[in-house]
Symmetry: C2
Subunit: 652 residues, 2 copies
Amino acid sequence: MKTKIWLSTFAVVMAAMVIGCKPKGAQSTLAGDAANKVYVPPGQHDEFYNLVSGGFNGQMSVVGLPSGRTLKILPVFSVHPENGWGYSEESKPMLNTANGFVPWDDLHHISVSTTNAEHDGRWAFANGNNTPRIARVDLTTFKTVEIIEIPNSAGNHSSPYITENTEYVVAGTRFSVPTGEDRDVSIDSYKDNFKGTISFLSVDKNSGHMDIAFQIEAPPFNFDLARAGKKKSHGWFFFSTYNTEMAHTLLEVNASQRDKDYIMAVNWKRAEEYIKEGKGKKIKAPYAHNVWDEETHMATSTIKENILSLDPTELKDILYFIPCPKSPHGTDTDPTGEYIIGSGKLAAIIPVFSFTKMLEAIENEDFEGTIGGMPVLNYESVLHGEVEKPGLGPLHTEFDGRGNAYTSMFVSSEVVKWNIETLEVLDRVPTYYSVGHLMIPGGPTGNPHGKYMVAYNKITKDRYLPTGPELAHSAQLYDISGDKMQLLLDFPTIGEPHYAEAFPASLIKDKQVKFYPMEHNNHPRALKGINDARVERDGNNVHVYMTSIRSNFRPDNIEGVRLGDEVYFHVTNLEQDWDVPHGFAIKGANTAEILIMPGETATLKWVPDRVGVFPFYCTDFCSALHQEMQGYIRVSSADSNVPIKYLTGEAE
Amino acid sequence: MKTKIWLSTFAVVMAAMVIGCKPKGAQSTLAGDAANKVYVPPGQHDEFYNLVSGGFNGQMSVVGLPSGRTLKILPVFSVHPENGWGYSEESKPMLNTANGFVPWDDLHHISVSTTNAEHDGRWAFANGNNTPRIARVDLTTFKTVEIIEIPNSAGNHSSPYITENTEYVVAGTRFSVPTGEDRDVSIDSYKDNFKGTISFLSVDKNSGHMDIAFQIEAPPFNFDLARAGKKKSHGWFFFSTYNTEMAHTLLEVNASQRDKDYIMAVNWKRAEEYIKEGKGKKIKAPYAHNVWDEETHMATSTIKENILSLDPTELKDILYFIPCPKSPHGTDTDPTGEYIIGSGKLAAIIPVFSFTKMLEAIENEDFEGTIGGMPVLNYESVLHGEVEKPGLGPLHTEFDGRGNAYTSMFVSSEVVKWNIETLEVLDRVPTYYSVGHLMIPGGPTGNPHGKYMVAYNKITKDRYLPTGPELAHSAQLYDISGDKMQLLLDFPTIGEPHYAEAFPASLIKDKQVKFYPMEHNNHPRALKGINDARVERDGNNVHVYMTSIRSNFRPDNIEGVRLGDEVYFHVTNLEQDWDVPHGFAIKGANTAEILIMPGETATLKWVPDRVGVFPFYCTDFCSALHQEMQGYIRVSSADSNVPIKYLTGEAE
């Protein structure tokens, strides 16, 4: 079969655009004080926590600002051999899905929980794109404590954005798919058989626990990014769409035909009312819901079977479409909630829509058409105005709380600052290179901290010492406290940074959990003291109940294991001090180590593959006698009579 | 069974030592110019590459100095969902061992190749502790290109140190084990049945390919660290030992009984002569040897069966023992090759041995005893002198090339500078906290660049914004160009930094591979152009020959796959530009994504678990139309008649 290619003039034009161009005549505007502005002297702390998505690493990075130092990488959707995430028996269920154990995902966006549209520092949410999931990270432990799968979705990209009191986290599909039970349909029946969906996940006010409250069916467009309304627009949600052409092949050409796509406005308060009225239908859609318990130190995974689906072609007034030029990426609401900015990556202007005008247009039925019976609002009627000549390839907009917006320009590699009311361009600075998302601390909230801005870039090339074909993605820190933006610092990132959020350190730094109190350790195989250490056989399972404390494991000499056994090391770290983890690893294991935090219990499963004597040791340098923190376990043949035997101490 | 514990007074004293103490009265000696000294303005490059071990993450970090920025994390011994290392079909063999696929290891030390005892910037070597392995990283691609397993070893810690022309990489066991074929012996028969081994791996001058040249049997001690002789001491190797008590339980007490352990001196030139004479015996010891091929873009794994073993109790003059107080960690040779410094972590002094005196003592048979017939040299006869009152818990020593040594003090959390000739302590600075290894660029070579020193610390606690119970390990950068050391910067690290090396960027920065030329891509399933894209069925295997180029996959619509098939996506990235990787992922896969560098071919295996239509997409933001770089693959039931069908282009 011959591939048939269709190339429009447009595609040829785009070919010139697809490489992020180096801005011409770009001059670093570094002042001599940049060094001092980013320098955090040894022993002093950064001013802001910056939570940065890792993209294709499936992790979240915690970066300090203004230093740009990576303070932690925490695993969310991907296994993490470093600390045993996805390898310990306790954490394995966290990566369970309806497709079984999935060791990787692509984490794009982060939302920090808000109350009254301000960061409250309780949780961070993150999306997994590939096998659609939403995760919740506890910001007192910086640990992933919940992951919920999103059924009827694919490329879970316009996620995980939140409403102003964290009532909901939303998850919008990027790729439309045949929804409902697994359906074998031809790909070219796309327009008939594929659908988009938007899921609203409720968040419990106290525990943070999520559930899929409802899912709204949508046309088979691609959904890119989203933002909740806030303050006056609280109750609404805005999603950018592309591929409203509904193409299913060669999208770079076929999904770039129309001059305008849409911002989809969702009246979720109206959806709630329908649900109260008993509307919507339960449909079969299995998905995993995984929850970490900090008292048992383990996760459970439950496969749920149904979701509540709302059909907006029947349930009127839930969905409206605002025309938006062209293939919009970002759709961002300003701190007042009045303005909605669409960043059409193939558009020559930036449209700014007015929420007030939107309500008026709805009220007046000022429609220019319908999609599946749902109203398309009149572009001009909803428009506040357009930013003229902003640059090439607008992607995403953040806000400083002083009436200014900052839009990233992928193709012309720059950030453009403009006034939201007047739409006047005030300043522009180059990025190096091909900027994606921007971040201003508190930028998406009602109360931005407009001191710094970070540009997360896609191309690094010559910015750092070269490291072969594969280079770090890069970020750049700007001072935006004055009229003109000032580039302060280049810093490399871990994985690919998409969206990020930041907030003042004072919000959470005094609420950090330093260790897990032993009296709250309810792991069923936890040990409360060294004298409880023991080994028990249960059929072909051998359970080693082990303690770790500077600087020994108990027991550290174990015999009586037979080939064919499965050995479970349940290791309790009895330390009750900050920053004294112990690690546990055993030679030849087809798994990773485990790191056990003070007061925690974790389990490593080991299936010996031969007879012999195998050392195990502590993998985290814990004391001057760390090197001595080791032991041996003996494996005998399957028919051996060596009895179970264990000790720590003088040889018997 | 009751655990029996034996506690000496010594152990009680140690209990006070095991926590890294905060140095008393420690004052930051920051000068106001520290900010400028570490600031690398945007667009400028760092002066040094610093290759840092990741410890329990199994990775290597590339850090720029003086900025402290992490420029790259490259996977060595652990799977890396981020780029598909250990998940792509091509890279899986790299993590094969005699125990099968091992997804994790504990990477402790790094050696950069040398010629005439100076860094030549060709390769970096790294050790895997847990399932003993040595890896080689190519410094033109920053990719792991070879991993060789070490049989008869466990806790491969005194590794991977090199001789002055990289003739050999050595690998010394940390834990002694029953050697030879798998042996089921009781642990308390330790002294009779367990052995230590030291392996010498040859390194091919041109290709870098390693092989296990020979292995030397050693007493059942624990081997901690090592250094080659250089210049006048070229031909010798020095290993620190502890647990010369030969304890196998509660080592924190039982392996800390003797006042002196040993530095083991190995005359490897003599070993070479024995081998030329046909001495040594082949013994059965299976181990994996895994090699990456940059032209086929894939790895092969070969299980080798035998090694050549030398018994130094029969082959005289290979091993000598130098008494060294107490439980030495580091054994370091100064840039002249004359001095060997033992850092006994439980010792109150630092002994400095003279190579000249060592040869004299051997010549004069100035022995104070024997171990298995092998000479123990007289301590006083070999001693150049002792550094008095250096601090508590000396661990490791580096050199500045100006006659000074710098020793890390774990327990008293400081670095002590002293003169090698006079043994006078010249300066001391606090570390925050509990310093392990030190690093001076070129420090272990004959030509150190004594401008900076980095302390890699074990405890971080309050140094950064807190991130829950699990904190980053930390490093500290000092200016050592003057008489007094000056602390410049705290920077967090990835994983746990053990040893690290650094060298001037000029050595390698112009030799970097930026992409793989398509004309050298000899992957058997590579495509040379978009028109070769196709799908082929071979029984239950479906091979998708796919191209990726901004911004499409070909094919992007695939049908005819049936439940029960195994689908192999062979993706060739046709780009020939720097910094334009493409990624490939498919929904619900029980594996990771793959990142494909320009000019490379990589393969992802996917076993669909249900009928339906599954999207795939590019995971690395590659152009303004990256979001459009997606496709669909349809899976039908096992008995379906849907034929294989594929296209990229207008729907048919």
